[in-house]
Every structure is written in C-alpha cells, then in structure tokens.
C-alpha cells in the first residue's frame, strides 16, 4: 500500500482542501474522520461548492455515451478468434481435455478402405465451408467412420446412402435432409462437414434438455460443435458433434428425440477422424 491509503489524521479546517473533500466524497476517510468532517462541511458553503463541483463532474462522466463496438472491429476480432481456434484444432496437442468416452462398438475405417467403398466420395471441401469446418474436413481426409447400432451385431461399416450436402453457390448451407440407411452410422467427409457447420437442435430445442441429454451421455461443460437432425433408417435422430480434445478427432453422438435429463437415448456413439 502506498500514500494512496485512506487518511487517518484529523482534518484541519475550514477552509478544507479540495483534495480532502474529494477523499471525503470518495469514502476514503476512516469512519470517525468521515463523520467528524460531515458535521462540519454540512454548514460550510465553500465546502458545499467544492462537493457540488465534484458531483457535477461525476454526472458529466456518467452521461458520456457508450458507443457499441463497431461492426468492422467485431468482425476483425472474431476472425482472429476463429483463426486461433483453427490453429488450436489443427495443432498437435498433448494437454487438451480427454475424450469423455468412446463407444466400444465404434469402428474406424482407414483411408484405403474408404476409397474402396462404392460411392465413397473423397474429401471435397466446399467453398461454403469456412474456417474450422474446412480445416476439420482437410484434417479428416478420406477417413470415414461407422459404428453399429446398439444391440446390433454387425460392426462392418456400410455405405451411407444419404445425399451429401449441397452448395447453393451463394456461400450458404442448404439444410437439406440428411438421411442415412444401413446397420451402422457412417458419414463421409462432406456429410460430417455439413453437420459440423450446423446448429439444428430440433429435437432438443428446450434449453433445459440439451445439457441434461449431454450429461446423461457423460458430457458436461461441453457445447456441441455441430448439431443436425437426421434420419437413420427412417427414424428421427439428433446427431451431435462433440470435441474430444484431440486435434482432428471428433465424437459423434446420435440420440433419440426422447434424450433428456436422466435419459441418454443413445443410438450411436463413436469417434470420427483422429
């Protein structure tokens, strides 16, 4: 502490110095001195004039308008933050949070297998997929993941027959239905990028349900990186992309519409990429 500590000495006056009166007004004096001075300045016109000047000054300061952050500065900073997030996602990391849990039935198919799959398109990064999405797709390469449905015995990856996301050519993602068929959940790079860039919580629109649903599936303090309502063999499913804490690796969690607090409703839970 310095000379900026509160005053302890008994004030001498009148006249009272403006600095003492400013300390008095700021609540800087000890309680005893404050009360002593208050009784004396109340009937001192000169002191009242100084206190009024300080009050006027404070009022003028309070009335200064607070300009909002200009749009171009907002955009610049958000771009810098996206770039930072991008570099964090792609950089090697040994100290990120561990993956909450993995589905034991998950099967990850390598790049060679993916290329043999009929209709298994290679990774095409669309122009409308910006920033992280593009990075994620690039990191993923041709990796395709598939997992079996709970209770199923077939863990072999099946080709996803859903149409890929389409590009409108205007830089906007068209939220076309994403329908998957087969014994397992399989996404190609394009489909994954479409889910990663989406925030569609149709089945979990109640704000209280999503955190409860995530917690029921062992996830806390994590917000989905992407969400999309899809159909899996004709069944409505909420697909969520969650961070694993590892660069280029994501957790895919598919839940039924009844998912909520205490009700995991897990349909598929697997890891994509990595």
């Amino acid at each position: 502490m310095s000379g900026e500590d509160r005053r302890e000495a008994a004030p001498q006056g009148p006249p009272w110095s403006p600095n003492l009166l400013a300390d008095f007004q700021a609540g800087l004096l000890d309680p005893e001195t404050h009360e002593t001075l208050r009784a004396r300045v109340d009937n001192d016109p000169q002191a009242q004039e100084v206190l009024a000047a300080l009050d006027t000054t404070r009022a003028e300061l309070r009335n200064l308008p607070s300009p909002p952050l200009p749009g171009e500065v907002t955009e610049r900073i958000e771009t810098a933050l996206r770039n930072e997030a991008h570099s964090r996602t792609t950089a090697p990391s040994g100290e990120q949070a561990p993956i909450p849990h993995r589905a034991e039935t998950a099967t990850v198919t390598g790049i060679g297998s993916a290329r043999k799959r009929p209709g298994g398109a290679g990774p095409r990064v669309f122009g409308w997929v910006a920033g992280l999405v593009a990075t994620a797709a690039a990191v993923l390469g041709a990796v395709v993941v598939a997992t079996s449905l709970p209770g199923g015995s077939d863990t072999q990856p099946r080709a996803a027959t859903a149409p890929p996301e389409t590009s409108s050519g205007s830089g906007r993602t068209e939220q076309t239905p994403l329908a998957l068929r087969g014994d397992g959940l399989g996404l190609n790079g394009e489909q994954f990028a479409a889910v990663l860039g989406s925030e569609q919580y149709t089945g979990l629109s109640d704000p209280s349900r999503l955190p409860g649903c995530l917690q029921a599936n062992g996830v806390s303090h994590v917000r989905p990186l992407g969400a999309r309502e899809i159909t899996l063999n004709g069944q409505d499913v909420q697909l969520l992309v969650l961070p694993t804490g590892r660069a280029g690796e994501f957790r895919l969690l598919a839940v039924g519409p009844e998912c909520g607090p205490g009700q995991p409703a897990t349909i598929a839970d697997t890891v994509f990429g990595g």
Partner: protein, 202 residues
C-alpha cells in the same frame, strides 16, 4: 438456434474443452462494455481496437489460467485494461501521438444538442489530460459504473487505491472542466485552456 450454454463460466469451460465457438460467444456477450473501457482508456479508435484484439487473443490462450474466485467478466476486463496500459506505455516510449479532433469514435448523432456534444468532447479531452492510472479508475467507476470492489480486482489494487485515484482524478477533472475555480498550487494540470474552451462553447 444457439446451444443453451448459460453462464460465462460454462462458455469458458466449453472453450477449454475444445469448443471453437464458445469463446467467440463469450466475446459477443461482453464486447460493447469491453470496447467502452478500451476506447475510454486508449482515446484512439485504432489503438483501442488493437488493444481489444490483443486482449481477446490473450484471454483465449490463457483461459486455463482463469480462477473461479473472480467473475469471468472481471477477468476479461482485467486483461483488456492491462492490454491498454501496455499499449499506452509503448506509445509513450515511442512518441506523442496527436489526438483526433473528434471524440473517440462516438457515433455522430444529429439529434444531440450541440451543447451536449460540446460538453462530451470537453469531458473526453479532459480525460486525456489526467494520469493513466487515474483515468482507468475513473473509466471503470464513474463512466462504466463498476463498484469500487470490482474495479479493484480488475486493476489488481486495493479498494482504497481505487477510491484515492478516483478522488484525485475528480479534482483534476473538475478543474479542467471549470467546475472548480480555485485550483491549488499543487494541481499541476492545465485547466485554464480547457475552461476557456468550455466557456467559449468551443
């Protein structure tokens, strides 16, 4: 629809867990108030923007160092204030930067009375003329309305120090603005010119 992550702490936790969107949302939530502090402290639009960007990137990278005993907003403001003070010190070490004639990026409003605008510009100019540590305290307490206790955490000083800096600053500002007409010999501020400007209506 945005995912319903409620508190600032939730967002920061999500960010440290790898959510690439969480920190941007936190920034969007508090950007105007952080900007106001940066702009008032720097008194230069471009420098304030640079300081705010530096601060946000610093906060992004050091989120794991956040300790829950303070509010997330207090932590963010502290980083912004430090970024501003760093820039001010670097600027002072380099050269004197001429101040713009207009206010610090305030939006022009055709509806404001000329007299009100004049008062604001004079107040803003007066703020430039007090020491930076007093200016930051005044910006936080008198302009942005933070409690002294929170300003003390942001500035990492004792509450008494915040009160003292505010008291000294108010005296100087009152003289600069012409509200206090009998300056002490120890005032050490250039009050006369501003009082003249104010009286002339600038």
């Amino acid at each position: 629809m945005a995912a319903p992550l409620g508190s600032d702490f939730d967002l920061l936790a999500a960010h440290t867990n790898g959510d690439p969107h969480a920190f941007s949302e936190l920034f969007r939530r508090h950007r105007d108030r952080l900007w106001a502090v940066a702009l008032r402290t720097m008194r230069d639009h471009d420098e304030a923007a640079d300081a705010l960007q530096d601060a946000m990137l610093s906060a992004f990278r050091s989120a794991r160092s956040f300790r829950a005993e303070s509010q997330v907003t207090t932590w963010l403001h502290r980083i912004v204030v430090n970024a501003c003070l760093d820039r001010i010190r670097r600027r002072q070490a380099r050269a004197t930067v001429p101040l713009p004639d207009s206010g610090p990026g305030e939006p022009a409003s055709g509806n404001d009375a000329i007299a009100d605008q004049d008062v604001r510009m004079v107040v803003q100019d007066a703020l430039e003329r007090i020491p930076e540590n007093q200016r930051v305290a005044i910006v936080l307490v008198d302009i942005e309305g933070y409690p002294v206790s929170q300003a003390a955490v942001i500035l990492d000083v004792a509450e008494g120090t915040v009160k003292s800096r505010c008291a000294r600053a108010r005296i100087k500002l009152a003289r600069l603005l012409g509200h206090l007409r009998n300056p002490d010999a120890d005032a050490g501020v250039e009050g006369d010119a501003m009082v003249t400007r104010r009286q002339e209506g600038r």
